[in-house]
Structures are given as structure tokens and as C-alpha cells.
Amino acid sequence: MELNIQPILPEIFICAMACVILVLDLYLKPERRTIAYVLTVMTLLVAAGLYWQDFATGSAVYLNGMFIKDRFSDVVKIAICLLSLLVFVYSREYIKARDLFLSEYFVLGLFAVLGMMVMVSAGHFLALYLGLELLSLSLYAMVAFQRDSSVATEAAMKYFVLGALGSAMLLYGMSIIYGLTGSLDISVVRGIVAAQAAPDNVILVLGLVFILVSLAFKIGAVPFHMWVPDVYHGAPTSSTLFVSTAPKLAGFAIIIRLLVGGLEDLHFMWRDMLIVLAVLSMLLGNLIAIAQTNLKRMLAYSAISHMGFMLLGILAGTPNGYSAGLFYGLVYTFMGLGGFGIVVLLSRAGYEADELDDLRGLNQSHPWYAFLILIFMFSMAGVPPTLGFFAKLSVIQAVIDVELTWLAVIAVLFTVIGAFYYLRVIKLVYFDPPAVAAREISATADLRVLLSANAVALVLLLPMVGPIQEMCTQAIASVVGAF
């Protein structure tokens, strides 16, 4: 069989560039390391361009079923490229001020991106696992990047142990499924599982549970969320930015590949499991966030509750629901990026700005940044007129569509509880007197402009909600329609 590398050209490009930057770094003087940064940003830009230019219309399988290229994968990959690109731009000054401006940071980032690309396109259990591990190992290193910080090291250790446990669960689940079906190819597995799907098939249920647990680990859904607050809090904010955005989308993608692509006939089983995960995530995430005094921890718990909302879309088990979940994932990652972007914006050398009290009275000195926080917070709370509202609307609509109105009411009640801690941030920013007399913001122009654009887009894109949702629907249709 002739090897067609055309569809994986962008992945090869990212991999090659990561290696180039790694080697180039040997010959770069520290003061000229900006070249590595520029190359990384260019790489992501070019990769996004390559996906855009070769945008899939249907669904095709390459490399002996290892690699799927469909509209879904291209949409998610472009989003991952853009998110990672923004992460690098946002964090440049932050890592410079902390002596972390090393080429390894960019190389790890690029390998993580590569891992996500492989996951998103995986048509085979092994490819999926390979991508996931490439991503996870890069992320462990990125979290531990500030090696003289004990908090960061502890966070990385925790992340590594729990992450390895999650990966092991995934492998175990996969091996059970393999034992049952005799194949690692997801589309083959789908066919055999469809024939065997029955509630009393204990082995199949066991495999499903292990896979589900590991997926919950990776996206940080309760009760497998323990690592999230510690990692988000302990890691340097630049790494938190990375961990909290693009990998969430990739996690969503593998859920779609595994549960929808492979095990959709078990929907009657995983639906109830996901309901438990979603309700617990919304409950615990929102309640514990109220008690936080640290902004990064608060955003971590908020991320947990957002994952609960995203699961609502998936558990509906309809194309409409999956596309609502995708839309939620896209909107959330850009909101989360902005939320941690604010922490990066306000911090400077020797000052982290990650305590909630650091935000006090920001409106007095910097009304524009206060306004950006306002947009991010209301968008996360799901208050219109922001995209966050439409994200919540579409997932809640999806669960009502499958007659789970009680779940919609629960989601709504948790939204109200969640609104409280977002409002508290706005209260600190707008209503309280400033804590520090003179507050300097040393952020560079590119960070200011992009962060502003990030926030304003959450409102100005409102007339575009239609086309964006259309895009999500088509992306999901390319996955669901392939069977």
C-alpha cells in the first residue's frame, strides 16, 4: 500500500520545526533567544494555515486507519493552533521576567501541540494513546519548568502520578475492549461492540468504565479532579495558561473519538455515568470555587464546573448535543485563556498577582483592564450578551431536547451559584477601594492588544453565533456521518 503523507504534512511540519528549534538553541546566545520564540509562533501560524488551506469536506481515513482527517479534526486543530499561539504570546513577558525564557519551553509546547494533533485525528487506540502520552509528558515538564519553585515541583509530581494513573486506566480499558473485539481500530471496534452491546455484558461495561474514568481524569471532571486546582495553582502561570486551554479541547476530541466514534452503541450506559460526572463537577466546582482566595485556584474550580457543562452536551447523545459540547469547548477555552491571561497581564517580575485581593480597585487605575475582566467574568458566568451565554444555552438546549429537563434545571441552579464568585471578582475590581496605591502594568503591547481582542470578541462575535454553530454542526456531522 502506497504511503500517502499528504494529509499529515502539518503534523510533520510541527514535528520538524520542534526539532529544528531544539537544535538551533545550541547555537543561540541567550539574548537572541527571541528567534526561537518567533519561530514557534510562525510554526503554529503556518500549521493553522496548512489546515485551513486543506480544509476537509468529508471524512477520510489514512495510514491504515490510524489517522482520520475530517472536518471535526480540522476545526479542532485550527483552534488548538490559535490557542497555543496566543498562550505563547501571552506568556512571553511573564517567562522572561522569571528566567524561564528558554527554548525548551517552546519545544515542549510544540511537542504538546503535536500530541494533541495526533489525539484529535486518532482512528486507532494506539495512535490515540501515543498522542495522549506525548501531550501529557510535555505538560508534566512544562508544569515543573520553574525548577527552583517547590510549589511547582509538587504540582508537577502530583500531576505526573495522577496522570500516569489515568493513562494506565486508559490502557487497561483499551486492552479489555481489545480482548473482547480483537481489534484496536476504532471503526472495527465500533462494529463488533454494536453487535455485543447489552447491559449484562460485564466485560464490556468494565472496559467502558476504565476508559471513562481515564477520560474524566484527563479533562478533570469530579471525582477525578484532584490534580486540577493544585496544578493550576502551583505551575507558573504561563504553564497554567497552556494546560488549561488547548488540552481541554483535545480531551473533548478524544471523548468524541472514543465514546461517539467507537462506543456510541453503549450510549445507554455511558449516558448515566456522564450524568453523574457532570452533576458532581458542576456541584463541587461551583461550590468550592466560592471558598477560594486565590484567583488561579478559583479559575481551576471554575474550569471543573465548565467541564461539567461541556459533558452535558456529550451525554445528550445526539449530533445536536455533540455540537453543543464542541461549541462549549471552543468558547470555554477562549474564556479560560482570557481569565489566566488577566493574571499574566497584571503580574510582573517578583509579583504574581494571583490573589483575589490583588484585583482590588483595579477600575480606579486601569478602567480598560477592569472592563476586560468584567467581560470575561460575565461570559464565564453565562450572562448575556456574551458568547458564554450561548454556550450554556446550547448545552442546556441539548439536554432538554432529550427530555432531561430535570438536569437542565440542576444546571441552571448551579449557574446561579457559580455567578456568585464571578460577581465577587467584579465586586473587587469595581466596588472596592484599591489595595496598592500605584499599580504598574508592565505588559507589552502585543499582550495588551490580543487580550483586549480576546475579551471584546466574546461580545462582538454575537452576530456570528449562527455561523460558528453551523461550523460545529458540520464538524460533528463529519464524525457522525462517517458511519
Binding site: 444555552l393 442546556i396 432538554i400 429537563t405 446561579v416 460577581l423 452576530p463 453565533v465 454553530q469
Partner: protein
């Protein structure tokens, strides 16, 4: 998309708000003030054709605009007005001008943000009254909370943070249940068009549950007993302009919601549960009036008086007769003018003495005779004196109540006594008697700016009281249709 007149009334103030916001720091406050005044007057002027060009013979939506927004959920940018929403829109654009003038010298800090918040809120409120698509309605309805949250939180009194968060969470809870109701209706009908909801057949259980969801949203907003407790807090802490908009327009959205959603979409549940709503309304009218009687704080007194008067509105609506609904509508508009005016009067005193306590005043008539005259008129209107707008709505509602149950009318009628008691007693303690203290002795009478906004409102109160025909005429056809809808069973 934004070609029509109605769209301009929504988006011009929002655009104006953004421009005012861009003037930035307090050094340019005079510019911000002038721009805000210009935009609010301009918005008011372009909203007048909505009245003059209104066809009173039809109940159909007028000045309609429709274009697709989110095709996957069939959400449309669909707006239009009928006889119920048009008067409320004019009320909104009119009062925003008043509020901008009222905040002219009083707001010294972050003037641009203050003015911009009111302008943006104006656009969103007009949007609420004109949206025909449920999601669009919801976007405006919730969006409006944001500027009000900031207005109370930034420029409010000592306990403002507690008040504003309470206000936000109360209303958010109600609204989100309404959102679930919308989604359920969409699931049933395949459309977010409110007019399609009106025609949708629904079983009794579904109607009852939906009624409860809508009722939570609107009862919190009105507010009805027993979910009224956020209102006194919010009113007392809000700056004068915030209180005016809150009492005059935001409360009306609850009433508007009943007319737009509960009654026509859920006629059977409305009839079934009307007794409960009427009972809660009567409790509000009588009990809250008694609570108002013992208040020491002028703003609190007016806040409780608002709840009591809004009880009339819900009472009128749930009698399901043309007279009752028109009475409730007139009461809403009239209360918009009167409560706005009374809050402005308290604001005038507060700006001078910095106290809202009734006990801090006494004999104000000696030093502020012109002001005393104005406040006299508004106090009388609040008590429901014939010849003022306050009388018309109360009279219609009591008349309609008589036809259903004499006890409804008797209990509602007590407000004429209690209303007069708490309003005039407060007036007496503040305005009449000997000059109470040095603060009162040093008072200066109203400035030309204050005379301007007080006389604008006084004129409206008198016109509506003496010649209510133009107000009743525009809503006639729509109310007739509504009465038919609510009295036609869907079962």
C-alpha cells in the same frame, strides 16, 4: 439588519454609551455629560414616531424587523411593538433623559461610566420591550442586569455591595428558570418566536410547570410578596438615578412579562392559579402598605409603596378582563412617573443634607417652597388623588375587581386609605412644621436644572390624570386580543 426605526431606538443609546465611555477620565466629565444628554434626547426624539406612527386599530406587531441570527436553533433578530410595549418604550426613553439631567451635577466620580451605564441600559430595556424572539428577549433581559449591577455597586450607599449582589442573584435565579421554560417551549414548537408560543397547544401539567418557571422570573422582577425583599435593599443603596430606573422601568418588566408570556401562552394555568396570584397581590397591597407606614427612611418608604402599587398591577392582570389589564397597564406607566418623581425628590433633599431619614427633616416648606409644591403634587398622585395619573389605574383595577369579587375590591380599596396615610404622613413630617434643625434652615430651593426635570414629570402626571384617553387608546386593540387569548382554553 439594523435599518428600521425600532432598531435605531435600541442601538443608538448603546452606541452613545460606548462613545461616552470612550471620553474616559473625569477631566472630560463635562463632555461626557453633554454627549449623554444629546444621545438621550436624540433617542427620545426618534422614539416619538413610534407613537405618532402607531396604528391603534390593530393588535399585530408593528415596526417589525426580522433577520436570521442563529440558523441551527432558528433564533431570529426579530423585533416589533404592540400596544403593550409601545407606551413602555416611550416611558423608557423619556425617563432616561430625566435621569441624565438628574445626575448632571450630582455624580462627580467616574461620570462617563455612570452616564454610559444608563445609556446602554436604555437600549437594552427598549430591546426587552420590543423583542419577539425569546432568546433575543432573554439576551436583553439579562444584559440589562449588568449595568444596573454596576450602578448600584459603584455609586450606591454604604451597604451597596450586599444590595447589588442580592439584586443580581435574585433576578438571575428567576430569569434562568424562565430560560429553561423557553427551551422547553422551543423543544415543543421548534421555534423561538413568542407569537408561535402563543399558538402552541399545551397540556395542563406542562402549563402549570411553565407557569411556575415564568412566575418565578416575573414575580421576582415585579416584585411580588414574598420575593420582594431585594427591592428595599437595592433602592435604598442605589444612587437616585438608579432608583428611578429601577422603580420606573425595571419593575415594569415583570408586569410586561406576565402580559407577554404567562397570560397568552398559559391561559389555563393562569386561570387555575389566578387565586394564588391575586392573594399574593392583595397581601402586597395591604401588608406592604402597612410596612411602608412605619419606615423611617424615605427611600425605603417609597420602595415599599412601589411594591404595594405593583400589587395593583398584578391584581388587575389576573382578573382577565380588558378593564383590569388596561388598569394594570395604566398603573404601571403612571407609577413609572410618580415613583421616579418621588425618588428624585428624595434625591434633591439628599444632595443637600445627605440624609434619607425622615427625622432629619421638618419644616422644609419654609426654606424650599417651590420644592414643597412639587413634592405635594407627587405625594398626592402617589396617594391616588383624582386628577392625577395615580387615580386612573387604581380606579380601573378596583372597578374590574368589583365585577369578579367584592372582597378583592374592598381589600384593594384600602390602599386609598393606607397610601394616603403613609405618603401624606411622610410629607407632613418632612415638609411642614417648624424648621427642625440648622441643616434645614440652610437649605436652598430647587435650582433651574431640578425645576426642569421635576416639571417634566409633573406635566406627565397631570396629563395622564386629566386626559388618559391617548394612553388607553393605543393599548386597546392589543389588550382586546390578549383578553381573547387568555380566555380561550388550550386544552
Amino acid at each position: 439588519m439594523f435599518g428600521g426605526l425600532l432598531s435605531w431606538v435600541i442601538w443608538l443609546p448603546i452606541l452613545g454609551g460606548i462613545i461616552v465611555l470612550a471620553t474616559g477620565s473625569d477631566e472630560r466629565a463635562p463632555l461626557a455629560r453633554k454627549l449623554s444628554l444629546a444621545f438621550s434626547i436624540l433617542t427620545f426624539l426618534i422614539s416619538i414616531p413610534l407613537y405618532t406612527g402607531f396604528d391603534t386599530s390593530t393588535a399585530a406587531m408593528q415596526f417589525g424587523e426580522k433577520s436570521i441570527w442563529v440558523s441551527t436553533f432558528s433564533i431570529y433578530y426579530h423585533i416589533g411593538i404592540d400596544g403593550i410595549s409601545m407606551p413602555l418604550i416611550i416611558l423608557t426613553t423619556f425617563l432616561t433623559v430625566v435621569v441624565v439631567i438628574a445626575g448632571w451635577e450630582v455624580i462627580k466620580e467616574k461620570t462617563a461610566q455612570y452616564m454610559a451605564a444608563f445609556l446602554i441600559m436604555e437600549g437594552l430595556m427598549v430591546g426587552v420591550f420590543s423583542a419577539i424572539d425569546a432568546v433575543l428577549f432573554y439576551v436583553f433581559w439579562e444584559g440589562m442586569l449588568i449595568p444596573m449591577f454596576l450602578i448600584i455597586g459603584i455609586w450606591g450607599g454604604a451597604n451597596r455591595i450586599y444590595a447589588t449582589i442580592k439584586f443580581f442573584l435574585y433576578t438571575l435565579l428567576g430569569s434562568l428558570l424562565m430560560l429553561v421554560a423557553f427551551l422547553y417551549l422551543y423543544h415543543q414548537s421548534g421555534s423561538f418566536n413568542i407569537l408561535d408560543f402563543h399558538a402552541l397547544p399545551l397540556g395542563m401539567t406542562a402549563q402549570t410547570l411553565l407557569f411556575i418557571a415564568f412566575f418565578t422570573a416575573f414575580a421576582v422582577k415585579v416584585p411580588m410578596f414574598p420575593v420582594h425583599t431585594w427591592l428595599p435593599d437595592a433602592h435604598v443603596e442605589a444612587p437616585t438615578g438608579g432608583s428611578v430606573i429601577l422603580a420606573a422601568i425595571m419593575l415594569k418588566m415583570g408586569g410586561y412579562g406576565f402580559l407577554r408570556f404567562s397570560l397568552p401562552i398559559l391561559p389555563d394555568a393562569s386561570h387555575e392559579l389566578a387565586t394564588i396570584v391575586i392573594a399574593l397581590s392583595l397581601i402586597a397591597i395591604v401588608y406592604i402598605a402597612l410596612v411602608a407606614l412605619v419606615q423611617q427612611d424615605m427611600k425605603k418608604l417609597i420602595a415599599y409603596s412601589s411594591i404595594s402599587h405593583m400589587g395593583f398591577v398584578t391584581l388587575g392582570f389576573f382578573i382577565f378582563s380588558g378593564q383590569g389589564i388596561e388598569g394594570g397597564m395604566v398603573q404601571m406607566i403612571s407609577h413609572g412617573f410618580i415613583s421616579g418623581a418621588l425618588f428624585l425628590c428624595v434625591g434633591v433633599l439628599y444632595d443637600r443634607v445627605h440624609s434619607r431619614e425622615i427625622a432629619s427633616y421638618g419644616g422644609v416648606a419654609n426654606t424650599m417652597p417651590v420644592f414643597a409644591a412639587f413634592m405635594m403634587l407627587f405625594a398626592m398622585a402617589n396617594a391616588g388623588l383624582p386628577g392625577t395619573s395615580g387615580f386612573v389605574g387604581e380606579f380601573l383595577v378596583i372597578l374590574a375587581a368589583f365585577k369578579v369579587n367584592i372582597w378583592y375590591a374592598v381589600l384593594a380599596g384600602t390602599t386609598l386609605v393606607f397610601g394616603a396615610a403613609y405618603t401624606l404622613w411622610m410629607y407632613k413630617r418632612v415638609i411642614f412644621g417648624e424648621v427642625a434643625n440648622d441643616d434645614v434652615a440652610a437649605l436652598e430651593d430647587v435650582s433651574p436644572r431640578e425645576i426642569l426635570f421635576l416639571s417634566l414629570l409633573a406635566a406627565m402626571v397631570l396629563i395622564m390624570g386629566l386626559w388618559p384617553y391617548p394612553f388607553l387608546d393605543v393599548m386597546h386593540a392589543t389588550v382586546d386580543q390578549l383578553v381573547t387569548q387568555v380566555n380561550t382554553s388550550k386544552l
